[in-house]
Assembly symmetry: C2
Homo-oligomer: 344 residues x 2
DNA sequence: CTGAAAGCGCTTACAG
DNA sequence: CTGAAAGCGCTTACAG
């Protein structure tokens, strides 16, 4: 016997289930939760009754009692969402299976909004909070210190002493430069974004380190903006001058790489035959639109989100976790902008 | 006297406030809610006590009583988020000021996930649900009929008889074609995405309608994919053949337009002098990277989200609303890909 | 094996 | 003007 097509205007309560099954609410509760001991038939009868009436326990009441709401707050300032969204969906996916729901809080860069959302979360008794953003070197406009509930930072600047997950930018850069090396490229340059970004320095340093380890001459990275236009401009700067030209360009993001590839083609250079190009972010829609499709470093943001979500849950469950910043590995997604190894 | 730097491990309750102020919890409740009548001084003393102790009412308890949780569920299948994200932030912004929080539910295209999230929302007693997605002609993998709480569809295929907000695609296409007309362009073509998308037909029909109204010969739109590559290919198809060339291309999205602009430049045609180009979606990061920057139709998705959020709230508040699909106007964002009017 | 009682934190008639 | 009581929907010791 299925439940009605049009549901009752008000949800069925445990009290109604108990009445229908001819037991007390206490017994009904225990039957449905598998608690206490009672005759198997009683338990089964109550279960069937609940099922038949379409009973679903009111989470609000359960939360009040259990002191656990099975909700978490997710703060972000990334309205555009290119970085936040994979993180967010990773978090959401990790939590939905545990019955935990996620409040989406868009705080922009607005103190008032930040405060408003944090207070709303606290009032709604979220079990924990995850902060995420569009830059790992900027703090959200919120005060998350001394909150009484666990807080995790994911892809945003953490408070000192907090637990944070970020991508391993240096490791990602290494992946790119070492890939070029393995392909036999020896004149590798690096174009990146503005010096005001911490990741620009982390990636540039890793780039220098690998060159040094391989005994190649250090070339200073060219810093500019995160745009295609800067990719064009950087190519002009470097390929206009006399002397040996680079045979590989490692770019700080995919848009720069896109500009580089277009600029190289415009001056008659072949990618990957003359010059190999690698981007960063693995922004699929851009990486697949370049000609040829772009090899790029992926920060594994969805995995980062999963990790953050799972860690928050274990904190909520009372398990301890060491504070600090955990760097999660990137991976290189190989497409066609670098060619094959010399003998390959 | 501010609250402690490190908060109590457990939030302060109304009972504690009442005790500290020397009144009953009932009186404390009424004082803080502005209910009932009591001496102004009593009310003020209770307020101060609450303030001093950092009292914040437990929303879970309030919700249980009020039968209103001040939360709504937001379902989406747009993991990538290009369309969903503006809608979502519009919704969130509209609701946060009313104290309503939003549960983010990523249902992908997975029935199981959809069911899981809807049940979680119902169990958590959300006041309403908003469904959004990446296509207005596809239904989310969830059953939202007969839910007992209000449901609004925003930028996704609604159930029959439901309330839905979508962009006015035909109106947006008109904006583009009429803009070309005003600029004196008379040989206007239309490149768009796959025929399997409803918006492709809506926009194509509006394109034909405007041409007919203006007494221009109808040219059949060229349908392909949503990619830059298709923009290139379509240019090749149309500009390779003999006879008069188009002087304006209205594109079904910004990526096609990007491909068109690049392809035109590659064959020595000037944009906008020889050919004007308009895109659709106003995907800022693409529109601003084309050379010249792209004029594009914006679907006003954030406004659509706001509208959806506000309407849901009024339904929750018991106000009636007529079912049906409401088309919200697009706007044309003029950049430099169309040039100026003949005399301008 | 089952039920009456107390309670989570709050609000709202209803008495005094 | 203020407080004791009942109750939102559930769970969990504690009696029987």
């Amino acid at each position: 016997m299925a439940s009605d097509a049009s549901p009752a205007p008000t949800p069925v309560t445990l009290r109604e289930v108990a009445a229908a099954a001819g037991v007390s609410v206490a017994t009904a509760s225990k039957a449905l939760n598998g608690q206490g001991r009672m005759m198997a038939e009683t338990r089964e009868r109550i279960r069937e009754t609940a099922q038949r009436l379409g009973f679903r326990p009111n989470s609000l009441a359960q939360s009040l009692l259990r002191r656990r709401s099975f909700t978490v707050g997710l703060l972000t300032n990334d309205t555009y969402g290119r970085f936040s969204l994979p993180v967010m969906s990773g978090i959401s996916d990790a939590l939905v299976d545990k019955g935990v729901s996620v409040f989406l809080c868009n705080v922009e860069d607005d103190q008032r909004l930040g405060q408003l959302h944090v207070e709303a979360m606290l009032d709604k008794r979220v079990d924990g909070i995850i902060a995420t953003g569009k830059r790992i070197d900027r703090h959200l406009p919120v005060d998350l210190a001394n909150l009484r509930i666990p807080v995790i930072y994911a892809f945003t600047q953490p408070d000192p002493g907090a637990i944070a997950f970020v991508s391993d930018d240096a490791g990602g850069a290494r992946l790119a430069v070492e890939h070029f090396w393995r392909l036999g490229r020896r004149r590798i340059v690096h174009f990146s974004g503005p010096a005001s970004f911490a990741v620009v320095h982390a990636r540039a340093q890793a780039y220098r380190d690998v060159l040094t380890e391989k005994g190649l001459p250090a070339m200073e990275p060219l810093l500019g903006s995160w745009s295609e236009a800067w990719g064009h401009e950087a190519v002009k700067k470097l390929f206009d001058r006399k002397g040996e030209k680079p045979d590989a360009v490692f770019c700080g993001n995919d848009q720069i790489a896109r500009g580089v590839i277009d600029a190289l083609r415009e001056r008659g250079l072949d990618v990957p035959d003359d010059v190999g190009v690698i981007g960063f972010d693995n922004w699929q829609i851009v990486a697949e639109a370049t000609r040829p499709p772009l090899t790029s470093v992926d920060m594994n943001l969805a995995a980062l989100g999963r990790e953050a979500g799972l860690t928050l849950l274990s904190l909520v469950g009372g398990e301890p976790a060491a504070p600090g910043i955990r760097k999660l590995p990137c991976r290189l997604v190989v497409r066609q902008s670098c060619g094959r190894p010399p003998g390959g």
